[in-house]
């Protein structure tokens, strides 16, 4: 399984973190993987994005012009990244914050995930929104196994916060369920 995705939102939503988790998961599954963040002025201005490439072969460019996957956590990111998504690609939007009318293309596979609402109402922590979205993307794309994502959580969550790992697992599962996957 190979694929690539751009994830975008605003700083603090956990964009770089879920990208990192996806990259570590792919590595643990024995794949080649790169993770590339927006560094510099964007971070200070409040938006965050990263690109993850997963492949069975050596990866040339860690930057992708036509990604097969796009995960959008806030409105401003949609405008910037939607035109880049490859035709037929997977678009995961955080429909709690992004309006459907912003999706101006119909040649892509849209999955609406009310990530903030699910995180707040079902998981009990709005901070879990990005994990809900990641669960949905993993289930929709099949890029890695959801169970490996669970296994890799301790690698990205520090000891201090390890009590929140079950919460993260629940969030990933809720997202995956929206993509028709039941763990």
């Amino acid at each position: 399984m190979t694929g690539d995705i751009i994830m975008a939102g605003f700083g603090g939503q956990g964009i770089l973190m879920i990208g990192n988790l996806l990259a570590i998961t792919a590595m643990e599954e024995g794949k080649h993987v790169t993770w590339f963040p927006a560094y510099g002025v964007e971070m200070r201005g409040g938006t965050a994005n990263c690109t993850v490439v997963v492949s069975d072969e050596e990866i040339g460019s860690p930057v992708v012009g036509r990604p097969k996957g796009l995960l959008i956590m806030n409105g401003p990111s949609m405008e910037k990244f939607l035109p880049m998504l490859a035709p037929g690609g997977d678009l995961i939007i955080n429909s709690s914050l992004v309006e459907e009318r912003q999706v101006t293309r119909n040649d892509i596979r849209l999955l609406q995930v009310p990530a903030d609402d699910i995180a707040r109402n079902k998981i009990g922590s709005r901070q879990m929104a990005s994990m809900v979205a990641l669960g949905a993307y993993v289930a929709r794309s099949g890029i890695v196994k959801l169970s490996t994502v669970f296994d890799c959580l301790p690698k990205v969550i520090s000891k201090k916060y390890e009590k929140f790992i079950p919460l993260n697992v629940n969030a990933l599962k809720e997202g995956a369920a929206l993509a028709g996957f039941h763990a």
Binding site: N20, A23, I24, M27, E28, E29, G30, K31, H32, V33, T34, W35, F36, P37, Y39, G40, V41, D56, E57, E58, I59, G60, S61, P62, V63, G65
Partner: protein
């Protein structure tokens, strides 16, 4: 599946900038000084967090000018020492680098380069090639310049840079860019070989019970500076002869050979894989050392292929060195992307054009 992918447990997902730190620490570097600049701030951040606990010293100096002079002093005491910066900061260090080359003092200088000239921007660039390989500072000297194209090489080439700097008593530079610095990918922290360290009988260690030692770049007596220049020249010739490194990538039967380093080279690899699938015999010679430049390899390659396609993230710098290596100038083509990463698609398009095919 590659050997790397076959043993996932040994792999660590790390930023290129951090891999440099891991390589430096593994090679025994316990002294790092620097001044912040994007896109290399992960390096001082890591060193500040880890060197004190290892008994080392992290210092944020008041400027890059101060930094390089503290580096000079630490090197004179025989310690392994490193600094890092990006273009504008590296420019400020040129005077000190010239003094270090003249005084024959080793150190590792990391340039995670960004766009220029001037403050330029923070986008990845290979615009510092001339500065790195042609001396940069005054007086006529060379740096050993290593150009990593992966996180793995950020680690291994940093260890090598310390060894080469000490072996030849000269500063060595890691010339990376924002892409290899900021990206994460899996790498294996191979152990450092302590057998590659050398004694430093020249180091200033406190003159007790031995002859005094003197480290300087000022030579006023008779023809001392001429003699010194010939000595340095002879050293650079030895480096040229013994330390040239390059990767041959899919060059078997190649009719089109890309010549590229660093990020431009890793993007080219994807384009070459695509070209091969279309039946175009493309390959690449990737200089790993920019000084010494793989002159012999380029000379030989130019005689066997139809085209040498030089690709750089600038408007043409290394291509001048490629031209120096061969008289077959009509076989040299150039693709320049100043301060922008080339895409595999546009490289493939150029390859097709050179192969006489339409996309």
């Amino acid at each position: 599946m590659s050997a790397l992918a076959a043993s996932p447990s040994k792999r660590i997902l790390t930023k290129g900038n951090e891999a440099i730190c891991l390589g430096a620490v593994a090679a025994g570097c316990r002294h790092y000084y620097g001044y912040p600049i994007t896109p290399q701030n992960d390096i001082p951040e890591y060193m500040a967090a880890h060197l004190p606990a290892l008994g080392g010293t992290f210092l944020q100096a008041e400027s890059e000018v101060a930094t390089i002079n503290i580096i000079l002093g630490t090197s004179a005491s025989g310690k392994r020492v490193m600094t890092s910066s990006s273009g504008p900061g590296i420019s400020l260090m040129q005077e000190g680098l010239s003094y270090m080359a003249g005084s024959e003092l080793p150190a590792v200088i990391v340039n995670i380069s960004r766009s220029g000239p001037g403050l330029g921007g923070i986008a990845p660039s290979q615009g510092d090639y001339f500065q790195a390989v042609k001396g940069g500072g005054h007086g006529g000297y060379r740096l050993i310049v290593l150009a990593p194209h992966s996180v793995q090489e950020m680690y291994t080439l940093t260890m090598l840079a310390f060894d080469l700097a000490d072996k030849y008593r000269t500063p060595a530079m890691i010339l990376g860019d924002a892409v290899v610095g900021q990206m994460k990918e899996p790498f294996v922290a191979s152990p450092y070989d302590p057998a590659s360290t050398v004694e430093k009988p020249w180091a200033l260690t406190g003159c007790v019970g031995r002859e005094r030692r003197n480290l300087k770049s000022l030579h006023l007596k008779d023809n001392a500076i001429e003699v010194h220049n010939w000595k340095l020249h002879e050293k650079y010739e030895r480096i040229r002869k013994d330390e040239t490194r390059a990767e041959s990538y899919m060059l078997d039967g190649a009719t089109i050979a890309i010549v590229a380093f660093g990020t431009a080279a890793r993007v080219s690899k994807t384009a070459i894989q695509w070209a091969r699938k279309e039946g175009i015999a493309a390959g690449m010679l990737r200089p790993i050392t920019l000084f010494p430049f793989p002159e012999r390899e380029v000379f030989e390659l130019a005689r066997t292929v139809d085209v040498l396609l030089v690709i750089e993230m600038n408007t043409g710098q290394m291509v001048e060195d490629v031209r120096q290596c061969t008289s077959l100038h009509d076989r040299i083509a150039f693709l320049g992307k100043p301060c922008v990463m080339p895409t595999p698609e546009e490289i493939l398009e150029r390859i097709r054009l050179l192969a006489g095919r339409k996309g």
